[in-house]
Amino acid sequence: MKKFSSLILGCFIISFCFSLDVMAKDKIRIGFSMSLTGIYAPAAEGQMHAYKLWLEDVNKKGGIFVRELNRRIPAEFVYFDDASSTDTAVKVHEKLITSDKVDLLLGPYGTTNAFAAVPIAEKYKAPIFMSTGSSIKIRDLGAKYVWFPTSCIPDRQMQALVDLLKANHAQIKNVAILYLQELYPRENLQFLEPALKKAGIEVVLKKDYPMGVKDLSTLLSEVKAKNPDGVIVLCYAADSFLFTTQAKEVGLNPKFLFELVGPAAVAFGPKFGSNTEGISTMGHWSPKGRWLDAQGFHDRYVAKFNKKPDYLNSVLAYMAGQILEQTVEKTGTLNWEKIRETASTQEFTTINGPVSFTGTENRRTPSMILQWQKDWLEIIWPPETATTRPLIPKPSWG
């Protein structure tokens, strides 16, 4: 009998300690893996900055409101460098969940690492609020515990681009396509070609080039010789810089110029100055967009880091933070299963407008086309979210 009562007492003490632990929760620990070094590091910086800004904004309010505790709890980050290695990213995610026991997770940098983390999320049923990363395969993942806020999914994005060209068919009757031999540009190409064909826009030249290319001038001379109305470059940031420099060098002056990734990078504007005028790129955001706090986010970011946010990575990272925050507030608890349910079904207000998920994909935000106009990236397509009219023909290089 004595034994039994001490067992009861023991159970009582243990459960009391546990409830004390919940009651005493003074921090929401948010974990993520980040490419602080290695090949992804230059591109990942905008994401890291936006995470930090979001954390600061949340903690200024006193933290995230958790209904079951009836108070705001400050958030803190637990993050490790994955050195741009997918293997390491996978290990970091496992460590965050099993050893650091974080409350919630944000996404790592880029599609490859994000996709590698998906099985971990599913295995431990741990929700990860992804930020950067985009591929048509997002919707085929069939995952339940991850959500990608990007609307730059290749099929929708290339359709938006072709719709824009079709609306300007009087000036753009044919295009030349250059593409980088990497997964994402290739995925885009796969949808661009049929869409162009359907729209009756002729492809006069199609050429590829590898990562780390050091010279494009001979290739660009070939493009110039064909004299296309539009040039579509499915590139990443580094080769976008090289392309832009050398397009000017060889005097390639199409009426429409689209560069997939790069023109939205922070260094692009300062480097090319007035030569950016009329260059289009993919995207889904501009500080001038008519969304709550879009300009506010831009200004706070500039004030904190003394540079402009990346219109893709930084924005997606901040959105992921907002979605995480609102999911916790709407759920009222940190229980992963309940969090998953809220994230999958509810709508969230972000600096990019309302977001909701169909499976893992954000279907609510449309794919957009941005264009440099007077030192700003403006949204020029689709008309319902556009901040200004498209500038076609693009002015010649200065």
């Binding site: 602080l36 590091a41 001979t218 290739l219 420099t245 000017k248 060098e249």
Partner: protein
């Protein structure tokens, strides 16, 4: 058609001139000390950042900061040589052990340089615009900064060649490359030559970084591809053969550019590594063999 051929040759020579500059620097350390500097690319990065900051913060022309970034890298070289490698050379008796140890040290240095740069200046892509006017040579449009980089690289390479061929110091370096023990026997201060080669090699990487920054983007992790290319060039021209590296750089630049234009840019790596493997299989001493 003629214009196109001319363009290919120009582009090949321009790219080749940077390859030469980088490879000569790398080969100098290998030739004299049998040390493989896999952190060579990181010094290029340091040179590029020095130029970038001097230009953006103080408006100093990259052509002037050429001297400053060369000097900064040279100092870094002298310091690393004096503090790390001279003691290592003194303590290690076998060349084989020295080679493997130095590889580890340089690998560590490469990681340290990359990450310190990333901490100091963030991993952001950087770039600046300088001499972006277009000049036409034989009907081929070229951006002035690339032309300037080409001419500067050529001048530096020639100066380096003359230094090695015409001065006593150069003769001592060449002697050391040929036979370390015999050099010591005739009374040449090898320690001093080691340090000197280190300093010149680092300075050349810094200069190359300065020139490259005029037209390519800059990141803390930009160095590795240049190190790899430099390895291909020094194998092509012969390990320890400085003149070989000089010509090898131009040769690789031309073969790459023409090869790409005849096939596809996608085959660039296959072309350069193909040459690398072919040279190792057919003529392991390099096209120009060993010697100075």
């Amino acid at each position: 058609m003629e214009e196109r051929v001319l363009q290919l040759i120009f582009v090949g020579l321009i790219i080749g001139s940077t390859y030469s500059l980088i490879a000569v620097g790398l080969n100098l350390i290998y030739g004299t000390m049998r040390l493989l500097n896999i952190a060579h690319g990181e010094l290029i990065m340091v040179g590029a950042y020095t130029t970038f900051w001097l230009f953006t913060l103080m408006g100093i022309s990259p052509l002037f900061s050429l001297f400053l970034s060369g000097l900064a890298s040279a100092l870094l070289g002298a310091m690393i040589g004096q503090l790390i490698f001279l003691p290592a050379i003194r303590k290690t008796k076998s060349v084989v052990v020295l080679e493997s140890n130095s590889l580890l040290i340089f690998f560590a240095l490469s990681i340290i340089f990359q990450n310190v740069a990333s901490l100091l200046w963030s991993a952001d892509i950087r770039g600046y615009s300088y001499l972006t006017q277009i000049v036409k040579i034989g009907g081929v449009p070229l951006m002035l900064n690339r032309l300037t980089a080409f001419i500067t690289a050529l001048i530096i390479s020639v100066v380096c060649y003359l230094l090695l061929q015409r001065t006593m110091l150069g003769k001592a370096i060449r002697a050391l490359i040929q036979d370390r023990e015999a050099t010591q026997l005739v009374g040449i201060n090898t320690k001093r030559i080691y340090l000197f080669s280190f300093t010149i090699s680092f300075a050349m990487a810094g200069l190359a970084g300065c020139l490259i920054s005029m037209f390519y983007e800059i990141t803390p992790f930009m160095g590795l591809p240049y190190t790899i290319t430099a390895f291909i060039v020094i194998v092509l021209g012969g390990l320890g053969n400085i003149m070989g590296s000089l010509i090898g750089g131009f040769l690789l630049g031309l073969v790459e550019t023409i090869g790409i234009s005849l096939t596809s840019p996608g085959l660039r790596s296959i072309i350069s590594y193909g040459i690398f493997i072919a040279v190792i299989l057919i003529r392991p001493k390099g096209i120009f063999g060993r010697g100075v």
